[in-house]
Amino acid sequence: MAKPKVAFYWNASCGGCEEAVVDLAEDILKVVEAVDIVLWPVAMDFKKSDVEALKDGEIAVSFINGGVRTSEQEEWAKLLRRKSGLVVAFGSCAHLGGVPGLANLTDRKGVFEAAYGYLPSVDNPDGVMPQRKTRVPGGELGLPEFYDAVYALDQVIDVDYYLPGCAPPPDLIMEAVTAILTGKLPPKGSVLAPAKSLCDSCKRNESKPEKLEIAKLKRPHETFMDPEKCFLAEGVICTGPATRSGCGERCINANMPCRGCFGPTDEVRDQGAKFLSALASIIATDDPAEMEKVAESIPDTTGLFYMYSLPASLLTRKKAAK
């Protein structure tokens, strides 16, 4: 029997998701043995034309990381969708837009004006900006179209499964691959990680009092963080209550609070809103003015509560249309 064909691809990615696959170390050999990799730009030599030459649906599964920001990325996503039986959004950028999705608080113009305009080291008296096309001696140079917003993968194509995390941890990657190879798959649309929240698996949960009451919020640099106690109980924002479990409490092991890279649990539509409501219920006051004062101690709730999920949230982006 022929081995199933598998593709790895990256869109607007930092390369960390690719490293995560390399970090499978010895396990990667098992994967390579069991499947036939037909595309993996970082490590192997296949072209777009090789993918185009495949029959529709011939690739058993494509793992795609990175968000979608340019016309080329959109084309690639669509091509792989057509050629693949299953598409897995790999990592928080593909899953929810990821940290670069914070760029949706601005638009293309804002990005360009900073990068090529007002930043202090830029020397650009004539206001030169990158162009789609440039005439140069001998010919023309082109650049792809840069959209006004970053998109999560399922805003561009249909996605079958999601592997959360920035980057996804090796054990979940192996589990997902095994599930696919053995056909033991959950319903379409599932996130391939535990359904419970991070607090459920967090060792510090025991130190979380029955009823949490916070009188004052502290930013991580303003306080010494006890390596055993629940961050929230100490008044430090930890998005664990609104985040899916499965990362192995990686940040918490380093004595740093969670920032939500695993995205929301199944019951939640909007991770930031969920955390906000969780927080509101534990702030130890009913007085709106008092409440506002507590909230003011965190001057960027959008950036904090949606650090990984802005494009997939209810807020999505500054500009409504593509």
Binding site: N11, S13, C14, G15, G16, D23, A25, P41, A43, M44, D45, F46, K47, D50, V51, R69, T70, V99, P100, L102, A103, L105, T106, G110, V111, E113, A114, A115, Y116, L119, S121, V122, D123, V128, M129, P130, T134, V136, P137, G138, G139, L141, L143, C166, R219, H221, E222, F224, P227, R250, C251, A254, M256, R259, I298, P299, D300, G303, L304, M307
Partner: protein, 489 residues
């Protein structure tokens, strides 16, 4: 035909870049361009974020060197909050940092750049990769490389929570310290890393330096540029990865400038072109003169060879001896040979290992005072480290709540962008004559930029980064003669 020329180049490059080569009427190379077709806008969307979150946000610029961005940001927020981390925190950061430099340099030597030499310049392209290296040096060695990287990466995971995007850095210190068990384990890893670095240098010696063709290629004219060089140095002007002043030497090796990170704007500016999302930095005092080398051009280079050129040597004894041996062979300091970047990288590999041994031994690394809480109003801060691919500068301004109002990032590969352009062009010019595109072109061109270990994921921090390397060769009338690419049609 396409099959033959489209092999590994891209597979051994981090991030995406695009090269275009234009020929003149005679069919000689008129110009070559390296384009970065992506931008992600980190500088813009950092505005409005809380300063202490920057060490967690900026690593997403690059998952291959997240630790470099994490440390540069952490140091920038130290400066922004005007807080000095305790000695223990400093040592822990530097330990994590050297562990990172070591695993990343090993990645480049064995997986990306080294295969050209270890497997051979003329070897089938399908073999010029890590598997080919293993074939040549044996499975045992291959296993050694994988194991070493794993153990060194484990130091970062232990202290930083995660190796891809670690989180230990806070303004004024680090989030956790070492346990005695950690220390014991790390000491063993560091000791083995010194062995590993020695082994790698010996491998380079026996495979490359004993081969006359390779040595001629390294010292040959096709891979040579007389430029300025930049790198961090300690008080004794020795190479330093984590901290120090920025030193610049001129093409003759004389000190041209030496300044603290905070003064970088007095010395460096960035030029913009319409055909790339990447900017082109240059030395302000000399000025932007286009893509030319020499004393009169403001173009400078960074990363391993540039660091060694810009310094008076290495701060550890074994690395210093290797440094001396390298310059003896290359005919003195500074060396302008682009391919010597590989050699310098191995000298640095040894330095990083020796430095790890020193850091783990230092009794203060076991201290319990790992953070100083900031007490002053935040305003502005600059942080600099030497990333594997060169000097990396993060510069933040904030309001008094510590909310970022401006973020400026000059990343390692961007510093090298003008030089990479020149190197590609020079290699192309040396090879393509009368419209004859030699089969050796692709690898020659690749070698010209691969020496820099360029990271276009980083370079595209300002935009997204997807298109892999494409080489297009066009005639004088603009018609496409040949297009060599990895996987984009």
């Amino acid at each position: 035909m396409t099959k033959r020329v489209t092999i590994d180049p891209i597979t051994r490059l981090e991030g995406h870049g695009k090269i275009e080569i234009f020929l003149d009427d005679k069919g000689d190379v008129a110009q070559a361009y390296i384009q970065v077709p992506e931008l992600r806008g980190f500088e813009k969307f950092s505005e409005g974020r809380m300063a202490e979150e920057m060490p967690r946000i900026t690593p997403k610029i690059c998952g291959v060197c997240p630790t470099a961005h994490h440390m540069a940001s952490t140091k920038a927020v130290d400066d922004l909050y005007k807080v000095e981390p305790p000695r223990t925190a400093r040592l822990i950061r530097e330990l994590v940092y050297n562990a990172f430099m070591l695993e990343d340099h090993a990645l480049h030597f064995y997986f990306l750049g080294g295969p050209d030499f270890v497997v051979g310049l003329e070897a089938p392209k399908a073999e010029r990769n890590i598997l080919g290296v293993i074939g040549k040096v044996g499975l045992e060695t291959g296993g050694k490389v994988i194991d070493m990287r794993k153990r060194v990466r484990n130091i970062i995971t232990t202290l930083g929570g995660r190796v891809i995007h670690p989180v230990l850095g806070l303004p004024g210190g680090v989030s956790r310290g070492l346990t005695p068990e950690n220390r014991e384990e790390f000491a063993k890893t560091a000791k083995d890393a010194v062995e590993f670095a020695r082994f790698s240098l010996d491998l380079f010696g026996s495979v490359v330096l004993k081969n006359k063709t390779y040595v001629d290629t390294i010292v040959g004219d096709v891979y040579k540029h007389r430029t300025y060089y930049m790198g961090l140095v300690d008080e004794a002007n020795k190479v330093s990865f984590y901290d120090g002043d920025i030193r610049v030497v001129n093409p003759s090796g004389k000190e041209f400038a030496k300044f603290p990170a905070r003064d970088y704007l007095k010395h460096v500016a960035e030029h913009v072109e319409t055909w790339s999302f990447v900017k082109f930095p240059y030395l302000k005092a000399v000025g932007w003169k286009g893509f030319v080398d020499g004393e009169k051009s403001g173009i400078y280079r960074v990363a391993p060879l540039a660091r060694l050129n810009a310094s008076d040597g290495m701060a550890t004894p074994k690395a210093q001896a290797e440094h001396d041996r390298m310059y003896e062979t290359l005919g003195g300091k500074p060396a302008h040979n682009t391919l010597a970047y590989h050699w310098a990288r191995l000298v640095e590999l040894l330095y990083a290992a020796e430095r790890m041994v020193e850091l783990v031994k230092d009794p203060d690394i076991m201290g319990t005072d790992i953070r100083t809480l900031p007490t002053q109003k935040p305003s502005e801060g600059v942080g600099v480290v030497e990333a594997p691919r060169g000097t990396l500068i993060h510069h933040f301004k904030s309001d008094e709540r510590g909310v970022i109002t401006q973020a400026n990032l000059i990343v390692a590969t961007v510093n090298n962008a003008p030089a990479i352009c020149m190197s590609v062009e020079r290699a192309a010019k040396g090879l393509i004559k009368n419209g004859n595109v030699s089969d050796g072109l692709l690898n020659m061109v690749e070698m010209a930029f691969r020496a820099y270990d360029p990271c276009f994921a980083c370079a595209s921090h300002a935009l997204p980064g997807r298109t892999p390397l494409v080489v297009e060769i066009r005639g004088a009338d603009g018609t496409l003669i040949r297009r060599l690419s990895q996987f984009v049609d």
